[in-house]
Symmetry: C2
DNA sequence: CTAGTATTCAAGCGACTTGTTGAATACTAG
DNA sequence: CTAGTATTCAACAAGTCGCTTGAATACTAG
């Protein structure tokens, strides 16, 4: 049993294979924020450099990421926006058909934020009118790689002591890396405890970008 | 390094794992046509029953398929339309970023059909006006599970001797299982050799259904 | 050139995956 | 009940995967 169809499926199986490790999924989530070098990724995930390198090779062979060498560093990035869409599709299937995912989401994520997340289009509209403060709680390098126009960047681990930087009396819309990134949930929880009005943006930066919405980035 | 995010990624990795075997991808393609029993699948793929059963278990654990027991048979089906969308997303990534897939598609698929495939919306419109004949070249059971309204079913292996059943002077739009199913390509090639005007429908039945277009199915 | 650093390569080992085989289970027909 | 069939389970060998370790490569700084 072999033919062109089987050959194509054999190739597509390599993509599946690339997606079959939690470590690689995390690497993809990080790369979806912007390009990163091997040891940045190594530090962010806690894995050894060699190990991260091997995982990146595998992702590269599956066509999901591409590398760019600059001096001593190799900067990896997602191969295209379609990769983000694919990951979103996988996440959607997981959320609707894997009981375990549903359970974790309900337990750790939804419990922190009783409110519905705000759709991207609505946020864009209200931000343009100056009605809300958009808050990006990711690390500065990720913010620099691209963020919602006009967003304020206060990394999650500094939010508690930098609350005064937030304009008074305006609702805050927080976002971070994506649907499984806890930071924006934590941000909303913290802000509400401090008496501010806060909600989460639906999904994170990669999805915003893929939806074709405007992205602002810091000059290199 | 572990937390809710890692747990979710661990679960999603099971979906990746399920997609990491060509055999399982083929099973999913077949199940996307409609529900099937284990030994139907075994015969269609040529693998042993036990082997197919094991693969189905894995797909089930990943939440991609669900089984329904009826008498002696267990009929498996896709867990939902989002699974079809996910597979389409994977295929799109493969086609745009894996050189090997591009090569195979160009070599075996595109070479048979120099014409652009027809988008689903256009086919529906023209079929309703009676301007084209929609031809389903899949096996009868798959046709019975759901087909384009008004389509004619002539399985590929019978097409050569049943050409007369096609209405004269009308363009034929052929379709089959999906983008990597050769049958509709072969059908178009055959029809054109015989002097008929023929083109392929963009994608196959599962994508048509998922796009929310009307589906007709035979009474049980 | 040399020293230093980011990345990749290579080897090793335990754990897991794949397909096969043969038996066990679950159901229908009679 | 018995016979027969669809499916699943269990055990096996061959192969692959995943992480670690230590060395090799490729580049910059000086």
């Amino acid at each position: 049993m072999h033919g062109p169809k089987q050959e194509v499926f054999g190739q597509l199986a390599r993509i599946g294979n690339a997606l079959s490790s939690p470590v690689r999924l995390e690497l993809l989530e990080l790369l979806a924020q912007g390009e990163r070098s091997v040891d940045q990724l190594s530090r962010l995930t806690g894995a050894t450099t060699a190990n991260v390198s091997q995982h990146l090779q595998k992702l590269k062979q599956a066509g999901l990421i591409a590398g760019r060498k600059q001096g001593l560093f190799v900067f990896y990035r997602l191969a295209g926006d379609d990769v983000v869409s694919m990951l979103a599709a996988v996440a959607r299937v997981g959320e609707s058909h894997l009981a375990e995912v549903e359970r974790i989401v309900r337990m750790y994520f939804r419990s922190r934020d009783g409110f519905e997340p705000v759709p991207a289009a609505e946020v864009l509209q209200r931000a343009r009118k100056g009605l809300v403060t958009v808050l990006d709680v990711r690390p500065p390098e990720e913010f620099a790689s691209g963020h919602v126009p006009g967003a304020l960047n206060i990394p999650m681990d500094q939010l508690a002591r930098r609350l005064r930087e937030l304009p008074k009396g305006r609702e805050v819309i927080a976002y971070c890396r994506g649907p499984f990134c806890l930071m924006s949930f934590e941000a909303v929880e913290l802000l509400r405890r401090k008496g501010l009005e806060a909600r989460r943006l639906q999904d994170g930066m990669p999805e915003w970008r893929t939806a074709g919405l405007p992205v602002e980035s810091a000059p290199r």
